[in-house]
Symmetry: C2
């Protein structure tokens, strides 16, 4: 295990200097969150993560969650983590004071979740999903549901889940078949199966509250006939005691990574005795779920960026401690009589380190920006709120998929720095490598995110989100020009033109009704656009760093700010440049996966 798993300075730099998060306290809901109080919160969560999460990270992989005798058993430390996390207010931290929350801005919530995810990504989901489930009840549920469930959930006594996926349907929610039959008492009989239910059952919560998508008998086909139900593992009797609600855990899926986090298979109503209570109105379930989806997707992106961050610091420590090989002299030879150098001296190792740094910090900046947009959407008014939402909608598929996809690449490079040791279980890199692979699949695969971006977000409201985005980018470019970052500003301008041209070209297919062509390379477009978005984030960070260097009164060291500028330049040279080739692919008119494709081609 490495000495360090994240960087508090970088986190604070993004929160306070790049995003000016402390200005959020101008809104009444967030009035208590000045910089000092957030700093205390960050420090206390870091101390919690150091003590209760990080030391158990490897062990949770080695002693995975497992299903035995009809029961899911998870690592004993999960008990402490849930209890102390709840005590710190981390479950439902954004909820109103009156229902037990802290009214914490989302941007700070994700800053805290980032710390926890960096320390131990196997553990954070238990509280995170409980928050998500409770939040659905908070926003759409009746007062009765709220009173019955939320307090126990944010106390960590009861776990919560989001139960969407079914074996036959996967991401295709329109095909879900879990059935809800109205009962006389206003509740419903629930029957069906759900798979891949994270945190769905374990020995440390008294009850599990499954926010379950199901179809009321006779409801319309497809996604328009889906309703949302609270289905507890145990019903609450009138005397407050818990009794079985016929929700049976049939299995826990063994996985290649994130093994400490259970992934359950649930069967509802096998004995005709499973009761559910509807949340909100009938047939609105998917809409409710999707209003929450932005946050669920930020959360997956945050997990991925955090795993890659921790892996970065582990590989950096190795590079600073491991002597091996020698520098090449001016004659192109190595002097074998000299001592070996630390591997951080090798340009290729530096390249792999800078690549990681540029990915993980760029991703973190984007995640926190999106979180702040979510806050502004909630607390700002009028156009400010609308624009925040519009931009958040556009960025969400990228917030989810960039950290997942490029986080894989980042950790791959981290592992590579360790050479053969990286492949052995003696070192931690291989665990991050396995863990992160889930994040391209959770909450909509990368392909689904790509369709969301190009098929829905880019064209929505006649391209309003894209126009707004372009204005935001222009602001950053103008600022960079004033701060002597002229070269990077002009590079980003050029890349923005590439985005505009390429997007315009693709939209012509949509205009012509050729949707297959339009969307065939959506994943390539996602890669292309994401690379740009993170380039924009890097220019934002560079502006603040440059400003601090020019004024000389930044909160961090000169080295710190220079490191941001250097990493930005690295990203622009090695990563932003990928856009040229991706644009070539996107504007190429050959259609190899649509019209001219036949299955026989695959041999």
């Amino acid at each position: 295990m490495a000495d360090r798993y994240m960087n508090l300075d970088t986190l604070r730099f993004i929160l306070f200097e790049v995003l000016e998060g402390d200005k959020l306290n101008q809104y009444e809901r967030f009035a208590d969150y000045d910089r000092a109080s957030v700093d205390i919160l960050i420090d206390s969560v870091k101390a919690f993560a150091d003590k209760e999460l990080y030391p158990y990270f490897k062990e949770m992989d080695e002693k995975p969650a497992h299903f035995t005798d009809g029961q899911v058993l998870v690592h004993p430390q999960i008990k402490e983590i849930i209890a102390k996390g709840a005590e710190l207010g981390l479950i439902g931290s954004g909820f109103e004071y009156e229902i037990g929350g802290m009214q914490l801005p989302t941007v700070y919530n994700y800053a805290l979740v980032h710390i926890l995810d960096c320390a131990n990504n196997h553990a954070t989901g238990y509280g995170g999903l409980t928050t998500g489930a409770a939040n659905l009840i908070r926003v759409y549920g009746s007062d009765e549901l709220k009173e019955k469930y939320i307090p126990k959930m944010i106390a960590g006594e009861w776990g919560g889940t989001m139960a969407l996926t079914e074996p036959q349907a996967g991401s295709s929610l329109s095909d879900l078949t879990t059935e809800a039959t109205p009962r006389d008492d206003g509740s419903y009989d629930i029957s069906g199966q759900k798979i891949f239910i994270s945190g769905g059952d374990h020995q440390f919560c008294d009850n599990f509250i499954h926010l379950t998508l199901a179809r009321i008998k006779g409801a319309p086909a497809g996604t328009k006939g889906i309703s949302l139900f609270v289905v507890p593992k145990k019903r609450i009797a009138d005397d407050g005691s818990l009794q079985s609600n016929d929700v049976v855990t049939a299995a826990d899926f063994p996985k290649m990574g994130q093994k400490g986090y259970c992934t359950t298979h649930l069967i509802y109503g096998e004995n005709g005795n499973c009761q559910g209570w509807m949340v909100g109105d009938p047939n609105q379930g998917l809409k409710y779920m999707f209003r929450m989806m932005n946050e669920a997707r930020i959360s997956v992106g945050c997990g991925a960026a955090s795993m890659a961050t921790a892996a970065y610091y582990a590989s950096l420590q190795y590079a600073k401690e491991r002597p091996q090989g020698r520098k090449i002299n001016r004659k192109g030879v190595k002097d074998v009589s000299s001592d070996p150098v630390l591997i951080i001296e090798h340009p290729d190792v530096r390249r792999m380190l800078l690549l990681q740094k540029s990915i993980v910090e760029g991703a973190l900046s984007l995640i926190l920006e999106a979180s702040k947009l979510s806050d502004l959407h909630t607390v700002a008014e009028g156009t400010d709120s609308e624009e925040a939402h519009l931009l958040l909608e556009l960025l969400t598929p990228i917030v989810k998929s960039y950290p997942a996809e490029m986080g894989k690449v980042s950790i791959d490079n981290g592992l590579q720095i360790l050479g053969g040791y990286g492949f052995t279980e003696d070192f931690i890199l291989q665990q991050y490598y396995r863990d992160i692979r889930i994040t391209s699949l959770y909450e909509g695969t990368t392909g689904i995110q790509a369709l969301d971006l190009l098929g829905r977000k880019v064209p929505m409201q006649n391209g309003a989100a894209m126009q707004l985005f372009a204005r935001e980018v222009s602001k950053t470019i103008e600022e960079a020009k004033k701060l002597e970052l002229r070269e990077s500003a002009s590079e980003l301008t050029h890349r923005m033109e590439q985005v505009t041209e390429t997007t315009g070209k693709l939209l012509q297919y949509a205009a012509a009704g050729e949707y297959d062509h339009f969307l065939a390379d959506a994943t390539v477009y996602l890669d292309f656009f994401s690379t740009f978005v993170v380039g924009w984030q890097w220019l934002k960070m560079a502006c603040r760093a440059k400003e601090a260097l020019l004024s000389g009164d930044g909160a961090f060291s000169t080295d710190f700010y220079e490191s941001k500028l250097h990493t930005m330049r690295f990203y622009y040279k090695y990563e932003l440049s990928k856009m040229t080739s991706l644009a070539e692919v996107l504007v190429d008119e050959q259609s190899l996966t649509v019209d001219s494709f036949r299955a026989e081609i695959l041999g």
Copy 2:
């Protein structure tokens, strides 16, 4: 487990139509290998792989090699595999008839190894490394060593290893410290430690013959003072009995993948009683080892390409069987009243399948081409032999690293096709995903291959290898033009110009003595050049496919040949295009990992 793990037609197409391997029988050494006899060999090895290797693939992961009570235990099936593999002649298959070999051309050897690696990459190394070790004795050893060791090794009774790596030195062989002290009887006392010794010990061989690099007391520093020794686990007494040779297995490294293949830690001479016998002359050890390195590197590339091949077929089968989602109609909507389609109908899934196919078949073609060059180097005469060797030298780092690096990407796409199921241990994709990660590390990491390519192979003999390569590429381009593949030919011409220009620009740094700059982005150059080399392989395959379609008398179906053309076009659109961006990076003059780099930048 999937029904199919490789494609015999593609293998035969490359062997006989692309490489015209059957013409090798014009050389006396290979006179027995006409097409019919090779076909029989292929079929018998496929039957062996079907029966003895593939069914145990998942189990070897679940019941890994492990160290217990001072002993390495491997899966029981390893016993069968070694015995039957030896019986089939697969250990030392290329050796002369008189010493028990089959004089099999290398190109066919790797065709067979490909089948085995596709079926079960955990099992093939045992025989493969035994062949490699025996081959060092065969080529450089005394008659006494040959007689004593080779027969038992190719019979599978004794295992062989290549013992290079030491804990403190890693890839930096100049720092190895294992010591050899001359004894009166002409042998040496050996003392030291070796790590990561694949196949180094297990319960199914009577003895292990470690081809060990060590330094004779007083030898020059660095790589010039390294000698090669045969160090058996057990010495052979005069009466033929085996007695302990003080080679102790200290551990087996638990790994994230390829778990059935043991990776041992050996301690030599802890009790001052370990004897070794020198192979060839003193201080020539590294030279000997490196003459064998081309084959060892082909072998790693073959392993990687094969894992990715098997993963491809597993994901293809899933895509053909799994219904999910619907096609978008001309109005951009999905008709939820229709049945779900098989996921192979989705363009994004097709893209992921074609990407895999283009990588794995391109890699296989390259590996077999390199193997054939190795044969020509051995059996041809004069310029033919020299040119084959020169081209092989240039291609070897790519043969090793392209399948490893792009194989990872390929399997990542395969896993993605399965959605959430891909991450679970119920499906095999996650095993391939973990297994392949070792191949970027084995036998010189990708960074080492990159330095070899740009620092050594490109400039060698004043660029002679590059010039020869360019001529070979031109031949393919000319042929493609004649075969109505004008567009692809002109694309490859354009890309060859990119290679020439970019390489020329980089060589200016070397000419100016700026070696750090010259080599700083060697890994990017490797990616750039490899992408081109595989593009060339695809045009070669396309030429043969087109020719067969035009003549109508090919050995395979029209679909088969069309699939090659389609995949070539896919590679050119989606993969070859990456070169544009990589060239941008390579010619960019900012030096971010050399002069302007300071460790503080990494935060």
